[in-house]
């Protein structure tokens, strides 16, 4: 315990939980595809393709399980520029968060976009994934997205 202001006591407290979560058949397929450096979405009964996929149509609640290939490129639908990344952010230099609608998808997925400078970001721009050297089946198998044609 360390002494705080006014002689009152304070102490640091750290909480850690090593959660392990089951994925199920739809997310399990999506993560397996990421491990293979591919994207898959789920097609709902109404013909909409959801990426990232959920086991249900968020508008009707109907089950969905038909997986279809999407991407790898996509379009930025909105974005936010981070000048000072936080410790838990995926990149340690300035970057953009973006919602990205992959080719063939009707919904957008959240990820980071690495353009180096804010002026290179624009709604509607095309981006493509930068994969990690080692993929394990996680949303972070995509290190980030980058403008199409940069690599």
């Amino acid at each position: 315990m360390a002494s705080g202001d006014g002689g009152l006591l304070s102490a640091s407290h750290i909480v850690e939980y090593p959660y392990r979560r089951s994925t199920g058949p739809v997310m399990g397929r999506f993560f397996a595809a990421l491990r293979d450096r591919r994207f898959e979405g789920v097609k709902t009964a109404r013909g909409r393709v959801l990426v990232p996929p959920t086991e249900y149509d968020p508008q009707t609640g109907e089950a969905a399980d038909e997986m279809v290939p999407v991407g790898p490129g996509g379009v930025v639908t909105t974005w936010a520029w981070v000048s000072h990344p936080r410790a838990k952010h995926p990149l340690n230099h300035p970057f953009a968060w973006a919602l990205i609608q992959l080719d063939g998808a009707d919904t957008a997925m959240l990820h980071a976009v690495d353009t180096g400078v804010e002026s290179a970001m624009q709604t509607g721009m095309r981006v493509t994934p930068r994969w990690r050297a080692q993929t394990v089946g996680s949303i972070n198998d995509v290190a980030c997205f980058e403008p199409e044609g940069t690599s």
């Binding site: 979560r21 508008q59 936010a80 000048s83 968060w97």
Partner: protein, 351 residues
Amino acid sequence: MRDVAIVSTAQMTNVRREQRRNEVEMLMPVVQEAVKRSGIPKGDIGFTCSGSCDYLAGQPFAFVSALDAIGAWPPISESHVEMDGAWALYEAWVKIQTGQADSALVYSFGKSSMGDVPDVLNLQLDPYYLSPLGIDSISLAALQARAFLEKTQYTERDLAKVAVRSRKSAKDNPNAQLAGDFDLEKLLAEPYLVSPLRVHDCAPISDGAVAVVLAADDTARNACERPAWITGIDHRIEPHQPGVRDLSESPSTALAGAKAGVASGGIEVAELYAPFTHQELILRDALGLDASTSINPSGGALAANAIMVAGLTRIAEVANRIQWGSIGRGLAHATSGPCLQQNLVCVLEAK
């Protein structure tokens, strides 16, 4: 339906960091004051319901120890929501409607300063696709802000005006944390925090607590001169993934507002829980509010934003104005989840 009203409220003055007191010590005087003002003997209160967040305190079941502030003996009828206190008020209202209680104590407390709020709020996100990316609450709000600015006629100047007005109004609110006169041009010259949001677009981090007492029918009429009657209350939620929603609007707020009776007009005051400036504009439009309604005369969440407290505080602020006799009809809104995912609207009237 039974007639249910708010008969008393009490708040802690919001601060950036409550160094001296623990949560029980923070909460106890607020609860005591609300109960005392209601005039209802504590033992006669039929139901107690609270809202708080264990991750904010870093302790599982943290709300249980907060009961030490209430005096749960002889054993009381009690419940808790892991949400803003506005939803605890909704549960208490339902409990009274069922006839199981004639009065209820509702409170919430949040010591946001103990942890890192943007990181703590990451944990309310989907743990498969969103939370592992490490995105924080301000970044998510910024994604929404850009979608809103690009899809509407609003500008960053409009956002800054919300901040200036809120903090000016807060000068009259003794419980506000961030109040004062700010220069619009100077604010717009500040750098971005997460573009397109600047520091003034974001709510401060606050420690706070609030309590209200609800009562039905004659219990309410006997408790105070001008009960703030709840004439409509409803809450609605949208899908969680931000990429399946149109972030520039809030259909759940519009629907909750319609169900709560906002459309019948005469809303003199609206207290909207908008922790980011652009969210106030989205909410205003969703509720169809125009210049005849005074928005956030308390300063709103931009003046004090104790997590889990600020929504119930909006309801308390409207109820206070009805009890003081300064308005006859008002609206309170509370939100939960990322980018206004879930919204509650409560209409209060003097009758």
